[in-house]
Assembly symmetry: C2
């Protein structure tokens, strides 16, 4: 068998059953090999960022990697941003990047570039250029093992065309995925001692600590000891909703995060890193851990968060405690002129059982957490690496991982435009994704950031750089042009009707929510002042205000 | 002044007057500084690949660099493919990539990644991270000098947010662009001797050798000595049309290039590299120079092609020769069912004076060269680096460089989808671009390549990877959703009417040409066989056949 066939068999035998593709000439033998492997599903994307974002969303929900198929260094470049999100989320991806034949490289043909260099940005742990068809199966097995290591990562296998097309391929089986160990007893004892000491303690949960088994163990500890449960700001996958222990996410805005973390004596990391601000701001610390707060680590991303928390519960005598569970409750049906909070309210009102929500709504999604807190159980996927253009592609990937579960992607207008080609893949694969695009005709968050970084309110040229309204974008029409059913509305009741319809009718839908900027006029002027004041207010007032802004 | 202001002033004072932007929080001070510099035009793109492609197209026509403004490593990643095209075309670009504040880097926040590593892929000659506001002006001047060096290149300046926002900035003036020297006399003499020796000689013109002064000098040499004039396969910018000496471009398909190059005794490189095949194919050489043909270099991309050719003409006694000039002639108006060749025919029929054509039509554009050969003088920009997604963005950039000149972008459907967001920028800036999208519902070239690389005709899964027809894309609707006037048609007469209307009405237009695949059915089956046979046929027959396939 040729190299490409051995690669395909290695992938499928190891359980890598989906490949998100955007192939070119150098990948034609891999493409031809698809027909010999009924176990491999190939999902075509019209842009590489869609393929990589879909692989990210797939793996978050499937808990195993998909493969990508990209065309040389430029294809990898196009896919880099969403691979970055996967890397930051510790999501396993087996990235296959076709290259020129090894004999062709020295001619510096048009598409020649240094692929390994680009790949290191997202695959610091595993970048390999396959050198022979005989070794390709082993290379692929190593890439799979690296991707699904502890923790998950992006592994990049560069596949020269002649390695792909030559005979002598041999499939290879990677070792089974490793089982993570629980935290070592010394860490458990140290954390238990800190909690027993009676100060103010919070557990900061990230990664796998935001899945049900870990959440229940953390909930037992909280119920028994009174520790606070916090979640990292942008979780890879958060299980939440009615019946699960609620956790409070760290706020994106550092000033608000400061309110959440103020007064803590101990912050215990569970599969999480100590909180830092998303960006730096002049004169403000990047480290969000308050002075005098000691940071302890219970378990690392390479360890078993649920087992670690169970061991901690045991050590604290909390193993039989009853965790607080989120009560089932839904907001009412929104009415009147549509606004971003009303979109979130409609989502909370209608969210079906076992939905998957992808949140890339930036400012427009501020109320999403509150409005869906008591909705039926669901998974929330967020922007782990901060690279926008993740929402639509990862929704497509999540839908492929979980057929039968509806996926809602809440996406800002600015974000949606980066990888809007994902809509076509949704239509082609008939995925049940409801894409909700908040059209407020601006890079709304940057209007806030402009002032937060101390650049003032901006003159006409600066403000024009944040304005997406000239000309106005019509996302419903754009979706229809790619075969996706779509509507647009500025009325809350109509929005709720459209959402109900979309949830009831499998297949992709786009609902364009025409909303005013969440932070416009007086609110935008007030916010920077309020944020600056927060650290200086008495805690109860600061906390009340923080809840008012971003509950 | 702060660093951002010094940077802005350095750019404008050096003649960098346009910045193609997609900013984020870390670039807000640069954005705010726009209002202080009336000499800087900021052009917003909704995706970084649009910004970089526009910078490429701008510089090809303006003969000086624009700046880009990109957001960290992920923004650079999104812009990488079109920077690759610029690099391969030796096009000057000053790439400004915002980064986290220097104090923030060690916290490994969400968007943290290794930007320098990614940048080296496209900026091997100049990647620098600015370290102080005081030094930023000098850094920018060095970047500008590197970009407009001999030859042009992509220079990447990484701009940490605190370097941008801190006081102490000092503008700096780069040295004036260097004047390239003519070829050294020994090279001129060697080439002249080879031509005088009387064998079959071709001049392979690339880069600046495809502009009028060089073409005229080459034309004199050809008229006087009988040498053949060839152009590289994907020119950065080719001046052509009625009144200019015609040159024959090397074919994309290596088999056809072999016919063009067969029998040469000497191939003389003028600002060009020796021809190699675009991809490697099993059992075929990558090097297209025929056996026994000696390759000579007249001048390098760092030298003055026109002066070198003038010196050669002088040495050959051809300085007063009359170059052959392309006669003015246009094809007739096409009729009947629209096909890709009829689109090219309509373009040739209607092309206005001083138009700029961007050709990214892959298989559909095969007849473009023939159909426009005798049209009024125009510039042709092509896919120098082979990274598709270049057509629409570079058309936008070319239109900004040359207000008053109509730009036609001929783009395949597959290519158009990579950077379709460029349409919005065209509408926002009211650019006179006519985007012609060939909708044949497939990655047509890959249908050919699948067989050319020896992967057979593909099973249903493989062929499905090359099919863009399920669901069908509607590019006219997509363009309208971004504020661009658009029509679609499958009738040649209607197409010609739409093109005439678009050319007569400044502002952006998209015409969706619904065409059958250029290479479908019997033609597709025949082509690989024909290509395989070409090298074995007698030259006159091979040449006639080659002209028939791709004139």
């Amino acid at each position: 068998m040729i190299g490409a066939q051995a690669l395909m068999k290695t992938l499928v035998d190891a359980g890598v059953e989906v490949c998100f593709t955007n192939p070119g000439t150098s990948e034609m033998h891999f493409v031809a090999a698809l027909d010999g492997e009924p176990g491999m599903r190939a999902v075509l994307a019209l842009f590489e960022g869609v393929a990589t974002g879909a692989a990210d969303g797939y793996a978050r929900m499937a808990d195993k990697p998909a493969a990508t198929l990209l065309h040389l260094g430029c294809g990898l470049g196009n896919g880099l941003a969403n691979l970055h999100n996967a890397r930051k989320g510790k999501v396993p991806v087996v990235n296959i990047v076709g290259d020129h034949a090894t004999t062709h490289v020295r001619y510096d043909a048009q598409l020649q570039s240094d692929i390994e260099t680009v790949a290191r940005n997202v695959s610091p742990g595993f970048v390999r250029t396959a050198r022979s068809s005989a070794g390709l199966g082993r290379d692929a097995a190593d890439a799979i093992a690296a991707a699904r290591g502890l923790p998950g990562s992006v592994a990049t296998l560069i596949l020269p065309a002649d390695v792909s097309w030559s005979e002598g391929g041999e499939p290879c089986m990677p070792p089974p995925p490793a089982t993570p160990a629980a935290a070592d007893p010394a860490s458990v004892a140290a954390v238990a001692a800190a909690i027993r000491a009676g100060g103010r303690v919070a557990l900061l949960l990230g990664g796998r600590a935001l899945r049900e088994p870990a959440l229940l163990a953390a909930g037992r500890i909280a119920a028994h000891t009174g520790v606070k449960l916090l979640a990292e700001v942008f979780p890879t996958r958060l299980e939440r909703g009615a019946g699960l222990p609620p956790v409070e996410r760290i706020a994106y805005l550092a000033e608000m995060a400061g309110v959440q973390l103020a007064g803590l004596d101990h912050l215990v990391l569970v599969d999480a890193k100590a909180p830092v601000s998303f960006f730096a701001y002049p004169g403000k610390p990047s480290d969000l851990v308050p002075e005098g707060c000691q940071v302890l680590s219970l378990s690392t991303p390479a360890q078993d968060a649920a087992a670690s928390l169970a061991a901690l519960a045991e050590a604290l005598g909390a193993a039989q405690a009853m965790p607080a569970r989120q009560a089932a409750q839904r907001p009412g049906r929104p009415r009147g002129r549509l606004t971003a909070p009303k979109v979130c309210k409609a989502v909370g009102h209608l969210l079906p059982e076992r939905a998957i929500i992808v949140d890339e709504a930036i400012t427009s999604g501020l109320m999403l957490g509150l409005m869906t807190a008591g909705a039926p159980r669901h998974d929330l996927l967020t922007l782990t690496g901060g690279a926008i253009g993740q929402g639509l592609p990862s929704a497509a990937g999540a839908a492929i991982a979980c057929p039968g579960r509806p996926v809602l992607a809440l996406v800002g207008d600015g974000s949606a435009m980066y990888t809007v080609q994902a809509l076509w893949t949704m239509a082609r694969e008939a995925l049940h994704v409801v894409a909700i695009v908040f059209n407020n005709a601006s890079y709304s968050v940057l209007n806030v950031e402009l002032e937060r970084v101390g650049a003032g309110t901006g003159g006409p040229k600066a403000r024009s750089q944040l304005n997406l309204g000239e000309p106005a974008l019509n996302f419903a029409q754009m979706a229809q042009s790619m075969g996706v059913h779509a509507v647009r509305t500025d009325d809350a009741g109509e929005f709720a009707n459209a959402l109900a319809y979309a949830l009831d009718h499998p297949g992709p839908h786009l609902i364009e929510a025409l909303v005013p900027e969440s932070l416009s006029g007086a609110k935008r002027k007030l916010l920077p002042w309020l944020l600056r004041s927060l650290p200086h207010l008495p805690q109860p007032l600061a906390q009340a205000l923080k809840r008012k802004i971003a509950p």
